[in-house]
Symmetry: D2
Subunit: 294 residues, 4 copies
């Protein structure tokens, strides 16, 4: 089947699979068995962080602070504390920023006016915050087995490449690993989210169908949905199908080069993955630094 044949009725969906009130989505797939499989990966305690560094700029650009040339994901303001003993600050965070490794909550994307698993948008997302499918889902942290699918072992994916199930399965074979139900899928395409006009590769809808069949619980990658979209008028596979229909949380803009180097060095592409953003409820997304532990 080609992308052209896709109709909405065909799109995979988990709406209703875990009930109409569910807020965990595919995180339901992380069973005790999956956790034990993750635990078995931990041998030396060596760890790798999967987040890009965020270097904030001062919120103030006036007479007392240096200039800046771009509004970044985090803006900082140093507080006047009335003392030189303690220092303090606050930060203004753009939760969905392409230069920030962040976790999309299930309410971030709608499908036909509804958020997972079929709640009307206006009921889930209000001017006063998110009432269903917010970052509350991630409050206890997510610990599961992670598998790196390195599609850039021989260099970055070609511009505009549509990642297919074949790409995934070729990598599994090359790496000697198999992604099981409940696992986290970590994808390396060798790209940055630059939006500089060069067509960024991304997952095809078939790739998302494959993720559904395999039981992926959570996705992280240095690539995601292609930009510009692979199929202009079709739903974007990761955000619209995986996030909104499958309830599969997405970690956008992950940094996985060091992870790939460590996996290659150890000859092992699976690990325990700990995903624990600040325990702030009610958001549509939040910055996170996922940690792979070997």
């Amino acid at each position: 089947m080609t992308q052209d044949d896709v109709t909405v009725a065909d799109l995979p969906s988990n709406w209703g699979r875990w009930g109409g009130d569910d807020e965990l989505g595919t995180l339901n797939l992380i069973t005790d068995e999956v956790r034990a499989r993750a635990a078995a990966e931990v041998r030396t305690g060596r760890s790798v962080a999967l987040a890009q560094v965020i270097q904030p700029v001062p919120l103030l650009s006036g007479p007392f602070a240096q200039g800046t040339f771009q509004v970044p994901p985090v803006q900082q303001l140093m507080s006047y504390t009335g003392t030189t003993r303690a220092t303090a600050d606050l930060m203004l965070v753009t939760n969905h920023h392409t230069s920030s490794t962040h976790l999309d909550a299930l309410s971030h994307q709608t499908f036909e006016g509804q958020v997972y698993p079929g709640r009307p948008l206006a009921e889930a997302v209000t001017p006063a915050g998110v009432r269903h499918g917010s970052t509350a889902t991630f409050g206890a942290g997510i610990v599961t087995r992670g598998v790196l699918i390195d599609l850039a072992a021989d260099g970055p994916l070609p511009a505009g490449h549509a990642v297919t199930p074949d790409d995934f399965e070729a990598a599994e074979e090359r790496e000697g690993v198999r992604l099981e139900s409940g696992d986290a899928l970590v994808v390396r395409g060798g790209w940055k989210y630059l939006f500089d006009g060069v067509p960024m590769p991304g997952l095809s809808e078939d790739a998302v169908r494959w993720m559904d069949r395999r039981g992926v619980s959570i996705y992280a990658g240095d690539i995601g949905d292609a930009h510009p979209p692979l199929v202009p008028d079709a739903p974007s596979p990761l955000h619209t199908v995986a996030l909104a229909r499958l309830g599969l949380p997405l970690i956008d803009a992950a940094e996985v080069d060091e992870l790939a180097a460590v996996c290659a060095e150890l000859g092992r592409y699976s690990f325990l993955l700990s995903v624990a953003p600040p325990r702030i409820h009610g958001m549509t997304g939040i910055p996170v630094n996922p940690i792979a532990i070997f």
Copy 2:
């Protein structure tokens, strides 16, 4: 020796121990051996989060948002995205807030006008952000062995109690565990940071000296420095001595009741601890959800 005998010259210090440019402080104590010890704790993959839930309120209290009665650690603003397909928001975070589980960076506190390990405040902390001893220290995440010292197994500590080395060692004996160099010390006193006038218990200076002797790499607790201070005119032990002089990062306002229950259930008070706040550099502190993995 009593608290009255303390002079500044006596206070423990790591200034210079790892050089004049060091920004890791006691995190230097987390060696490969410590990591392996942490890894050995991971058996089932069961995990516990150590952060309090933060429930933000809308930044707007105008005609379109509900009222609020307290300014919390996080204020949220739902963005107008010009579409109903995607939702987005931003958040304004007060990094040092007593209702938020957060990680203090080494620059948060000074000792005699200097931050660890002896840098002048004005050089380290500027109106445009932190140049030394910021949250950059935590960028790679912290993975080490954690040990829970549960001082509230028989109920909350008495009001105003000064926690001593004897308290720590009695707990170790009771729990059958010994805190080793490089471990994270997690303390449960059975209190909340309420500041409601009831004197909150806290660590004595001798307790901090004990932490120095044992080689604690990082501290987390539902208690910390007493409030009001145990010794009015002496430096507060955790913030001034441990954080500013030892370079020992502090996790304030941790939530450890569930952790204590799981430790008691498993008969095991040690675990792998993963501490991975968003990878945002340049701050004096940042919210975090530490994860204990068994």
Copy 3:
């Protein structure tokens, strides 16, 4: 004609009156002749401010700032300037807040999906700011003759009262003044915007039709649209008809008690009115302190 007879076709409108690109609305009515009439009111230079006082609370409620019990229109953060010679701060302003005297821009309200004078909402108001009908309209300041219609000379209006043209004309006769084309209408009802459950009085649709006939250029009042609405399913007269259809800027939540006292003392209910908010373009509204000069 009663309110029940109103149909949309009947509603007064200035869409097209000054062209399809107009952003001034009824401010077009302020001619040289109107300005000269305003100038003639200035005799002693005595002046009265028409804004409520806004007392901000600190943005931080953490360890270094006092608590707060309500999120106000303005939140303040004192900056760390790295010096004791200069102090600085910033403020986060909720432009449309019922405790703030503010000026609504023409884009604040739509009529059937369009802003004055018939521009599609999505074209005028974008996620990146307002492109048509923003506060840019007020950049040069507004100077015109103001007339106070004091409906509360004998005490506040009754709860839920619908202000009618008869109310306006009775006040004109009592005060010996007549509102002319281009004048600013300043209304005193003797109420505060409390939203405490007591039905707040407000202008009827007939009152807005009267404003249209008389050529009011701008409205300021301590009352505005009734709350709850006078006619549940009809458009709110001031915001939907005057602002969105007539292009008549509104000053919400003005403070006019001192103005009324001065008018009574001088036996004169007309004055020069200067309305000059900060010259910030692109907003849907902005705080303002209108000044009446006698």
Copy 4:
């Protein structure tokens, strides 16, 4: 006397002139007589705004907003209101920004650790806001006679020029006007606050002494203190002497080219000046759009 002879004891000061609790400073000079003089200037109602246009950029630079290349004085965030009938936003304002026409409050600058008229800094400016000498001073608006001293009638002042009393008096003679006690001094130097390396001209200390002798109540200008300072180690005349010692409020970065054109056209360099920022108390400064009325 040359600048080199200046000692602190010589500097003019109003500390104590209007008592130790005064928060009006030189605004005390605006008497009924001054106001009547201002009123007499109003003949046609023609008006000119003295503020630069501020074009905000979106606070969000993420996927839903356009990029930006500089952090401006005002950042905007469009609110999600849950409806298409009303639009709303908020703005984050850097009160002291060199691209914004703003009014400095008396607490903005200290002299030897004190703010006007001799209050210790820590007592006046706290982490929770300003307790003395804040923008509360401007709550009722300022209406007085304004006089334009156009030093750029024949082109911009030379780079690095130190404005002297002779410059002021030559302009008075040229314009046929005399600045009297209580008047607002509006200065045009023909410069913008660019800080591009070219030495910006500014007022000498003698110019500020002249302002003191003449009884200037408030200052506005497109130039102010020179940048870099005229005398490196001496106090900056306008901010340290006029603002901190005389209690003379300053309007930084005014836009006065249109005003100069209108004055030249009318052959009249005096007018009524209305200065009415939003009535927000407790700030160290605030954006304002001063209005000259003829």
